[in-house]
């Protein structure tokens, strides 16, 4: 029997049992769709995190006390603004250096209050971290130098404290001290479940005075180019080690952060894909089961086909193709369903989802292989059926 003929016969058989074929496919459809969807969510999350890390600004170098390793306790920073000046000398350009000293604080405006993060920063922050304002202006060098009590609100804070008023020019009390609102950030959205708009920027000098400290938590440097970023980091760390021999310092790049996050999210995606793969496997067992039933049910048909000249191989191929058709049609439908659901999830929910070609290829390939693997036994059984016995079956 010709191959094209065998495909036609297999397709006819599936068509003849539409409902059963559809139900059998359902297992494969769900399996493939969940592989595609879960991998899409894993990939989408990873991509979004990467975007956000990259969105911090390019060629960024974060300098913090302590060693960046999983399990290391945070170290109380020994850094002060004098160290920042030293780092600025190493970098050679004050516009490329940003600092932060941060602490949780309650912000009040009239009867409304919001617990938020107050960050003491330099006027360089928008340039280093690529932040933009929705309204008003950012801090200036003068604001920092004179410890002026002015604040730039994150989008969430602005909405919480001034839901129906323009916050510009209004007073806001941070930890009981009044600051004047001079600007509002453009919204950034969520990142890994953290609201990035829930923050207030004030001059680092004002923040230090607010909390009665000389401390700076961390220094961020925007390197002039990617090639020299590691060397610059080493020089900064060397300078800080010279100034604070008792403390270790780390300079990490975005690439390093991305590497760590990527590994974690990659494992997450793999686990999701494996769980979905199990459902695909269950779908394959369903195919095998139905094919066995089908062989038994169509015993007489098999007997007749053999009587009129079908070789064992012809019958085997016919049933194998039926199984493969079931899983590949189911696989294609599952792919469409998975892609559709992923696009809907991405559009309608905060969960990001991104379709990757490898997940589509993998899911389809696995479903086809499942069809072959789980179709072989029923096909062999059909091929070996004794025509005399088969024809006698009622």
């Amino acid at each position: 029997m010709r191959v094209a003929e065998a495909w036609r016969v297999a397709l006819d058989a599936l068509r003849a049992n539409r409902l059963r074929s559809a139900l059998t496919m359902l297992g494969v459809i769900i399996g493939v769709a969940s592989v595609v969807l879960l991998v899409a969510i894993g990939t989408g999350t990873k991509q979004k995190v990467e975007q956000q890390v990259e969105g911090l600004g390019s060629n960024l170098l974060l300098v913090v006390p302590g060693r960046i390793e999983v399990g290391n306790a945070p170290v109380v920073s020994p850094l002060t603004l004098k160290d920042v000046d030293a780092v600025t000398r190493v970098v050679g350009d004050p516009d490329r250096v940003a600092v932060t000293v941060a602490s949780g604080a309650t912000a009040r405006a009239g009867a409304r209050s919001d617990f938020t993060t107050v960050q003491g920063v330099l006027e360089t922050t928008p340039a280093v971290f690529t932040r933009s304002l929705a309204r008003g202006r950012y801090l200036t060098g003068t604001d920092v130098d004179t410890s002026r009590r002015v604040a730039v609100l994150g989008d969430s804070v602005a909405h919480a404290l001034f839901p129906d008023r323009d916050p510009l020019g209004q007073q806001v009390a941070l930890a009981g001290v009044r600051f004047r609102v001079i600007g509002v950030f453009a919204p950034l959205g969520q990142s890994l479940g953290v609201d990035r708009d829930d923050e207030v920027h004030v001059p680092v000098t004002a923040a230090q005075r607010l909390w009665g400290t000389q401390r700076v938590d961390g220094i961020a440097v925007k390197a002039p180019d990617r090639e020299r970023i590691d060397e610059l980091g080493e020089r900064i760390v060397a300078e800080l080690n010279r100034r604070h021999p008792d403390t270790e310092f780390s300079a990490v790049t975005q690439q390093q952060i991305l590497g760590v996050l990527g590994d974690i999210l990659g494992v997450l995606t793999g686990v999701l894909a494996a769980i979905a793969g199990i459902s695909l496997l269950v779908g394959g067992v369903g195919v095998s089961n139905i094919m066995l039933v089908s062989v038994r049910e169509r015993t007489r048909e098999i007997g007749l086909r053999k009587a009129v000249g079908a070789r064992p191989r012809d019958i085997g191929v016919q049933f194998l193709l039926e199984a493969v058709l079931l899983t590949t049609i189911g696989g294609l439908t599952g792919m469409a369903l998975g892609v559709g659901t992923a696009l809907l999830v991405d559009a309608l929910s905060p969960i990001p989802a991104a379709i990757t070609w490898w997940s589509l290829a993998l899911a389809f390939g696995v479903s086809a292989v499942v069809g072959i693997v789980f179709g072989v036994v029923p096909a062999q059984r059909a091929g070996r059926l004794d025509p005399v016995v088969a024809l006698r079956t009622e």
């Binding site: 029997m1 003849a16 007489r300 053999k306 009587a307 000249g309 025509p387 024809l391």
Partner: protein, 331 residues
């Protein structure tokens, strides 16, 4: 491959379509051997019209399966279309069936949800014939069986007689040398059955395909040119070789007087067949059997044993069977 076989035969003798020599078939059922056939020898010539009769369990079906290449003998030699079955692997057996045998079953065995023309074309699928040619040949064959107007009807849209015609067309579309029909009229009413039988006979006469038919119907059996009677796994009577039937132990043919019907006839093809009086062949045969009756009556001790096969005779419902039983019961 068939050349030497031809050379071995005396000049003028035809090459048999099927040749069975001392064929036996033993089944293993739960470790117990069941002998379904015990040394059957027969030859089917091209163009033969053979009725295979015998009670249930006599081995008719087993023999049919063997003759059709669906099964292999466990002993003896079976040559179909010049090929020794025991030397063939399953795929070769399939090809042999496809090329030389056509099957017609009592239950039609048409593929449901499949049009008549596609059912008929099915054997050609396994022969690698192109779809267009298949349809042409299947349609032509359906025309020959009088169903040219039913090409795209499905089995459930056709009457039993029409379905059996489709099955006959399917059996013949490959132009086989032997047509094996297993009670082809068994599922049909008498009028439809007679029409189907006439069609089979007509095709047998026209195309020269040998027709081997299992039947329980004495009237049907009487129309055949040759009758082979089986019992307990052996051929007890073959009208083509009347003497060989006598070679069997007499006890074997007891109580089956109806099966002996054509035995007195030396030339089977002219004795029954298409002669003007052949519809009444059943009663004519009975008269012949009645002539042999004294021998049966002489052995009354065999009668109790024959009571069971006698049931089968009664069920077969042949007019001849009843007529024979009447004098037997009187004795």
């Amino acid at each position: 491959m068939t050349e030497p076989a031809v050379a071995d035969r005396p000049a003028g003798e035809r090459v048999p379509a099927i040749e069975a020599v001392d064929v036996s078939r033993t089944y293993q059922l739960d470790g117990v051997s069941v002998e379904a056939l015990r040394g059957v020898s027969l030859t089917v010539q091209p163009g033969d019209y053979v009725a295979l009769v015998g009670p249930s369990g006599s081995g008719k079906s087993t023999l049919m399966h063997l003759l059709g290449g669906l099964d292999r003998p466990t002993g003896g030699r079976l040559v179909i279309g010049g090929r020794d079955v025991n030397a063939l692997a399953p795929p070769e057996m399939a090809t042999l069936r496809n090329e030389t045998i056509g099957f017609v079953f009592q239950a039609f065995h048409l593929l449901p949800r499949t049009s008549a023309v596609e059912n008929v074309a099915l054997p050609l699928v396994y022969r690698g014939v192109s779809a267009r040619q298949r349809r042409e040949r299947a349609a032509a064959m359906l025309g020959r069986v009088g169903l040219g107007h039913r090409l795209d009807h499905r089995p459930n849209q056709m009457s039993g007689g029409e379905q059996q015609r489709v099955a006959i067309a399917r059996a013949l579309v490959t132009e086989p040398t032997v047509l094996l029909a297993d009670e082809p009229t068994g599922n049909l009413d008498s009028v439809t059955g007679a029409a189907v039988l006439e069609l089979l006979e007509q095709l047998n006469a026209e195309s020269g395909v040998a027709l081997v038919m299992v039947t329980h119907d004495q009237e049907v059996a009487a129309r055949a040119h040759r009758r082979i009677t089986m019992r307990d796994g052996v051929v007890v009577a073959d009208s083509a070789h009347p003497r060989s039937a006598h070679d069997r132990p007499p006890s074997v043919d007891h109580g089956r007087p109806a099966t002996l019907v054509p035995a007195p006839s030396a030339e089977p093809r002219s004795a029954s067949g298409s002669g003007p009086g052949h519809p009444s062949g059943g009663s004519g045969g009975a008269a012949g059997a009645t002539g042999r009756l004294p021998r049966e009556v002489e052995r009354p001790e065999a009668l109790p044993r024959d009571a069971v096969p006698g049931d089968a005779v009664a069920r077969e419902g042949g007019a001849g069977a009843r007529e024979v039983e009447r004098p037997g019961g009187a004795a």
